[in-house]
């Protein structure tokens, strides 16, 4: 193979010595300087990976280094001797624009697919492995904090509360999934029609939601939705998925630095997407449960539509579609058929 020109550094001083190096077909590396020469087996030297046109380094066992700008002859010699490495391919890809641009497309597709399907699948498996005790530990103090900052005690008549609690018990008793279900009533002031579930199994219902419902079936539908969250272990899965996204974001965007505020927004967008997937799952659980218990699933739709009206000041549903991707809940128009006339009875 054609000898390559370069410089030799003995590793003891910064002095440079002009030298010529050749890699023979016999697997020997010969280096020749002014009045000296060395010959060693290829296995005894370490040749650095190629990167762009950065000088190539051939390192000898004693720490001496030969450095050359002639990358191509070195590659040819190594390939000729069957010394093909992965970074040889990487260096080739890095030289070609079409491959670089294809990489860009693949990064976007692979990241999207992983975030959309990979992370939720991993989180589901991980949640299955973790015992329900873990759910109880998440936000164990959540309700106390909300009570201190946001909620007032419920003003519903005790009999009404007892009746709803009895129905809730009847709903949850047959589930036997290891969660300690409990129904709590709170008042949240005007515009406070809401219901939510804590991972520990506590479902909170506000007086305002109870007042908004026209029939008990509508409240039952909401409770079924919240039970769907607990049973699906959405709290735990959300934590696991957020952790997964953080790790991925760190790996992919880590070296972008803090300069890109856009990069910082991405985990929030993904969080919203995952949260919406959980809402859909809880909706499906609720509708399925209602059908199985001979309750018209449209009572769920009716309740959602009324909640949406309350939020948007009475001008109907779906007005938040523009900010679809930012919302933690799917638009009401996708979740319920609001055009349906009130359930006839």
């Amino acid at each position: 193979v054609t000898p390559v020109q370069g410089r030799f550094f003995d590793g003891k001083t910064t002095a440079a010595h002009a030298a010529t190096l050749s890699i023979g077909a016999d697997g020997f590396v010969r280096i020749e300087g002014d009045g000296w020469e060395r010959s060693v087996r290829l296995d005894e030297v370490e040749i650095s990976d190629r990167i762009a046109s950065v000088p190539r380094r051939v390192r000898f066992a004693d720490g001496a280094v030969f450095e050359t700008h002639e990358n191509d002859p070195i590659d040819e010699a190594l390939l000729g001797l069957g010394r093909h490495t992965f970074h040889h391919d990487v260096a080739r890809w890095e030289r070609h624009w079409p491959i670089a641009l294809a990489s860009l497309v693949l990064i976007v597709v692979a990241s999207w697919a992983f975030v959309r399907y990979g992370i939720p699948a991993i989180a589901t498996v991980a949640a299955r492995v973790l015992p329900p005790a873990v759910d109880r530990a998440i936000g164990a103090e959540g309700l106390e904090i909300l009570d201190r900052t946001f909620f007032e005690p419920s003003k519903l008549p005790a009999a009404r509360r007892a009746a709803l609690t009895a129905r809730f018990r009847a709903m949850t008793a047959p589930l036997e999934d290891g969660h300690d279900y409990r129904l709590e009533f709170r008042s949240a002031g005007e515009d406070g029609a809401n219901a939510f579930a804590l991972p520990s199994g506590i479902v909170v219902l506000t007086d305002e939601l109870v007042a908004l419902a026209e029939k008990d079936d509508e409240i039952i539908a909401v409770l079924a939705h919240e039970i769907g969250h607990v049973r699906g272990r959405h709290g735990l899965r959300m934590i696991l998925q957020s952790a997964g996204v953080s790790v991925l974001a760190l790996a992919v965007l880590g070296d972008l630095g803090s300069a890109s505020a856009l990069a910082a927004m991405i985990p929030a967008l993904i969080h919203a997407q995952h949260s919406r997937a959980f809402e859909t799952e809880a909706d499906e659980f609720a509708k399925q449960w209602l059908r199985e218990h001979d309750i018209d699933p449209r009572s769920f739709d009716a309740m959602l539509c009324r909640l949406a009206e309350g939020e948007s000041g009475g001008d109907g549903d779906g007005d938040d579609d523009r900010f679809d991707f930012l919302s933690s809940h799917p638009p009401t128009s996708q979740r319920a058929q609001c055009a349906t006339p009130p359930v006839a009875e």
Partner: protein, 361 residues
């Protein structure tokens, strides 16, 4: 000491001595970055250690002095080991904060006593994997030294309500620089404490001025707005002052960049201009205007291209920094001698490297 050898000065460089040169190129680095990013994504982040090595080798290898490029010798496996350990520690910490917040408190002393250790290990690793003409850099700082410089002097700055912060910055910079060597030759920080006080106070002064202007301007505009609109409604006042608020927002944004650029320029010049290596000297002459312009256009470029401008941004910044530096040798550059450094165990060093400790040098 000031006996610089006459050398042909590069036409572009406004700095005396032999110029440091950079051949880094945005398009070339974009291809390296994006290909390695793809490999990182499809290996779920594991390849990122090798991606980091390729990036660093590219930047070292395109930076040269006296016709010889610098070299980075770290390996992907070294970086990966450090990252795995660091990842394990962070995972334990975040699990504890989630499930047992009280237990997570034990991380406070661990952080306190661990930080100096991480700093020493990271700096040692970074220096030992850097070389020029096959002579390596090294770091000789001790744990006690790092504890004093980073924690001890920090406490001094803290109890004086920040007044002595420049002293802390000077101490820790001196600790890092004076313990660094190239071969058998030590570096020595030349910048005086007074210089650190000067630029720190100027930067803080500009920052304070910006805060005062905002604090005065916004209420003033709101008052003017409500008077003009004959309305006492604060929302209406805010709306009528809207265009002015946008202008103030933009000016604040520019002012913050100016402060960052001013501080970076001053700090880097203080560290490198006059920096001694035995009888040799480093020169550095970063200009505020140019640095400010690069910062601003880099951020705008990144925002407009959703981050794809990153490789060009990084190359532009690096090229400007490298090309602002020069080296005034005292005699021949062939006679610097290597240090007989023992190849020490590197586990801790890799661990430090994983935290990407940035010394701002």
């Amino acid at each position: 000491m000031q006996q610089s050898v006459a050398l042909p000065a590069s036409a572009a460089a406004s700095v005396s001595g032999m110029p440091f040169e950079s051949r880094a190129n945005g398009g070339e680095y974009f291809r390296i970055w994006i290909v390695n990013l793809l490999l990182t994504v499809i290996t779920l982040g594991i390849y990122s250690a090798w991606a980091k090595v390729r990036s660093l080798r590219y930047f070292y290898g395109t930076t040269s002095l006296d016709g010889t490029a610098f070299e980075y010798h770290g390996t992907g496996m070294q970086i990966l080991k450090g990252r795995l350990i660091a990842f394990g520690v962070l995972a334990i910490y975040s699990l504890l904060t989630q499930f047992a917040p009280l237990l997570a408190l034990i991380f406070i002393p661990i952080f306190f006593f661990g930080l100096p250790w991480v700093i020493v290990k990271a700096r040692t690793f970074q220096m030992r994997v850097s070389s020029w003409r096959n002579v390596r850099f090294n770091f000789h700082g001790t744990y006690g030294g790092a504890m004093a410089a980073y924690i001890g002097w920090y406490l001094v700055a803290a109890i004086t309500a920040g007044i002595l912060t420049p002293l802390w910055i000077h101490k820790r910079t001196q600790y890092i620089v004076d313990n660094t060597s190239f071969g058998a030759e030590r570096f020595r920080l030349a910048a005086t404490l007074g210089r650190f006080f000067a630029f720190c106070y100027i930067a803080a002064g500009i920052g304070l001025a910006v805060v005062i202007v905002i604090a005065v301007a916004i209420p003033a505009l709101m008052v003017a707005g409500s008077a003009g609109g004959a309305s006492a409604d604060p929302t209406a006042a805010l709306l009528s002052a809207g265009p002015m608020l946008i202008v103030i927002g933009l000016l604040t944004f520019l002012a913050l960049f100016a402060i960052v650029a001013y501080y970076e320029r001053s700090f880097t010049n203080a560290v490198f201009d006059g920096l001694e290596l035995g009888d040799h000297r480093v020169r550095c002459n970063l200009k505020f205007g140019r640095l400010f312009f690069i910062y601003l256009t880099n951020v705008l470029g990144m925002a407009v291209t959703l981050g794809l401008f990153y490789p060009w941004a990084r190359v532009r910044m690096l090229r400007y920094q490298v090309e602002s530096m020069g080296f005034e040798p005292s005699g021949s550059l062939d006679k610097l001698v290597a240090d007989n450094q023992a190849a020490s165990s590197a586990i801790g060093e890799e661990f430090g490297e994983a935290f990407d400790v940035n010394f701002g040098l």
